[in-house]
């Protein structure tokens, strides 16, 4: 395949909705279990870090520590939800459950299947954010006026991390190897994207690296600005970065999966 073929526009149809629906139906079967983590996790982190560790931390740029990390907790959940859905989740459906094989015997194409999976990953991120918002708002840690803006932002972030996960799914030789991107990419982002301490506490080159290459940096920054209720123009930069990288990776992930599955 020539390089340009990895980025060509795939023929995706509305049939991807049926794939999205399939995943939604499976999710809905265990709805209580699926809603528990996004509800419980922020509570645990807020109590332990925000109110526990936070007592020893001076305010950051005039913001109490719990309020500083609250948007980061949403962002991390957005990252985890779609990344895991489109890496381990999609890999299991593709390789172990043969779900994709069954679906492409119908008028649904493999491009539709992958698009449906990516949309579902983004939906998971959005659902998580939506569940977390009222929990965090209850503690008065986000500006309720703008909080609803977090929902579409989480969907966009979900698409981005879903595409990243799907790219790894397309090239991983086996399910164990997905541990590498988790360890070398996702976990460092969890810690070094301005999540639990501001980015400017890091050496300058690392700050630039984080801004250039770590997607979570832009999600955290965006959700933090919305959460603080201080919508500054800089959010447009984050948004543009996410949109461009997301578009490129969506194309790449679908073409890579096509290459893996259509032989």
């Amino acid at each position: 395949m020539r390089i340009s073929e990895y980025f060509r526009l795939p023929k995706v149809s509305s049939k991807s909705y049926a794939v999205w629906q399939r995943n939604k139906d499976v999710f809905a079967k265990d709805i209580k279990l699926n809603f528990l983590p996004p509800f419980l996790e922020p509570l645990l982190y807020l109590v332990a870090l925000g109110f526990g560790l936070g007592r020893f931390v001076e305010s950051i740029d005039g913001v109490p520590y719990a309020k500083f990390i609250a948007p980061a907790l949403i962002s991390i959940s957005v990252m985890y939800a779609s990344f895991f859905e489109c890496s381990y989740g999609s890999y299991v459906r593709m390789y172990y459950q043969k779900t994709f094989d069954a679906i492409i015997a119908t008028p649904v194409t493999i491009e539709d299947v992958i698009a449906g999976e990516l949309l579902w990953g983004a939906t998971r991120s959005m659902v998580n954010a939506t569940v977390m918002i009222p929990v965090i708002a209850l503690f008065g840690l986000i500006d309720i006026r703008y909080a609803l803006l977090i929902i579409p932002f989480a969907f966009l972030g979900g698409l981005l991390f879903g595409a990243i996960g799907m790219c790894f799914t397309a090239v991983t030789p086996n399910i164990m190897s997905i541990n590498y991107p988790v360890l070398l990419f996702i976990t460092p982002m969890f810690l070094f994207s301005g999540t639990f301490f501001p980015l400017n506490a890091l050496p300058e080159p690392i700050q630039y690296f984080a801004i250039a290459f770590l997607p979570l940096t832009h999600i955290v920054n965006g959700i933090r600005l919305i959460g603080y209720g201080t919508l500054e123009p800089v959010i447009l930069f984050d948004l543009a970065w996410i949109v461009v990288v997301c578009a490129v990776l969506l194309l790449l992930s679908i073409n890579l999966m096509r290459k893996r599955l259509i032989v």
Binding site: K15, V26, D101, T106
Partner: protein, 301 residues
């Protein structure tokens, strides 16, 4: 009218030629079998017909449409029973059918009606709300057959439909296939069970190393390649001498000798009377004899 026309069909993977320039056509309403040892190219051919594996060269027309340029239209008229069970284990029996119907854009109420009907057709109505994991092998196969029928296909493609099933379950699947054929559905299948193909198929091909070796109706193929009967005897120098003298068409297979003939009784009598061979048996030839004769007896991967 043919529903499948393949001309000079070739499928090449990186460095192996899986299907090597085959030409065949399948008529509407026919039951057609692909036979061959493992690795002969049957499944690859099926996958090209299903429009999930691109054709390397040659032409493949299904329902008069090119397989490469009209996959969605073709697939909407196909029912597929794959070799490997790929039921959706996240759903119950009934949900499997309804979820699958959405991939064909079948409206909800129509899908529910068809699902109920099809579960009756394959006798799984009692298992409606069971998760597919807890079904027996035979039940899974039946559910896959029902799933393949949800779009009322014009053509059903089955890759080893009865593999691993007990005789009862196999007979039931056969029965269903005959019923579908009666309704005018074209049935294309691959199988390792030669009795199955002999009983069911109107026509068949035997493939090996990506090529078609034999083509015709089961009885035609048997007559043409091995004769109507076979005399089996233990290998013995006296026997071989007798057969050479008679200029019989025979084959030595390990410790056995097979004599291919249209008149097994006569050969058997000759061997008993003239050559005093006592341990022998005469039987009608089967597709298995053709298969082994044409593809050899060496074990395959």
């Amino acid at each position: 009218m043919p529903v499948i026309v393949a001309r000079g069909l070739v499928k090449k993977y990186k460095d192996t030629l899986a299907v090597d320039n085959i030409t065949f056509s399948i008529e509407e309403g026919e039951m057609f079998g692909f036979l061959g040892p493992n690795g002969a190219g049957k499944t690859t051919t099926m996958r090209m017909i299903q429009c999930v594996s691109p054709v390397t060269s040659g032409s493949l027309e299904i329902f008069g449409m090119d397989a490469m340029s009209h996959p969605r239209e073709i697939k909407s008229h196909l029912g597929v029973v794959p070799q490997e069970n790929n039921l959706d284990m996240d759903f119950t029996v009934y949900e499997n059918l309804v979820v699958f119907s959405r991939y064909f854009d079948i409206p909800r109420d129509e899908a529910e009606r068809r699902a109920t009907e099809l579960l009756e057709f394959v006798h799984l109505e009692d298992k409606k709300d069971t998760m597919t994991e807890s079904l027996s092998g035979g039940m899974k196969r039946r559910l896959i057959l029902a799933r393949a029928l949800i779009n009322r296909p014009r053509m059903l493609i089955l890759d080893e439909p009865t593999v691993g099933l007990d005789p009862q379950a196999r007979h039931m699947i056969w029965d269903k296939l005959r019923a579908l054929k009666k309704q005018g559905v074209t049935v294309v299948l691959t199988s390792h069970y030669l009795d199955e193909v002999e009983k069911l198929c109107d026509r068949l091909v035997v493939m090996d190393y990506g090529k078609i070796l034999v083509e015709g109706s089961p009885s035609q193929v048997i007559r043409e390649y091995v004769g109507s009967g076979i005399v089996e005897a233990e290998k013995d120098p006296e026997l071989i001498r007798c057969l050479e003298m008679k200029e019989a068409n025979y084959e030595v297979i390990g410790e056995l000798v097979h004599v291919y003939t249209d008149n097994p009784k006569q050969i058997a009598e000759y061997l008993t009377m003239e050559c005093s061979i006592s341990k022998l048996s005469a039987r009608p030839a089967t597709l298995e004899d053709v298969f082994l004769k044409m593809t050899g007896r060496r074990l395959r991967e």
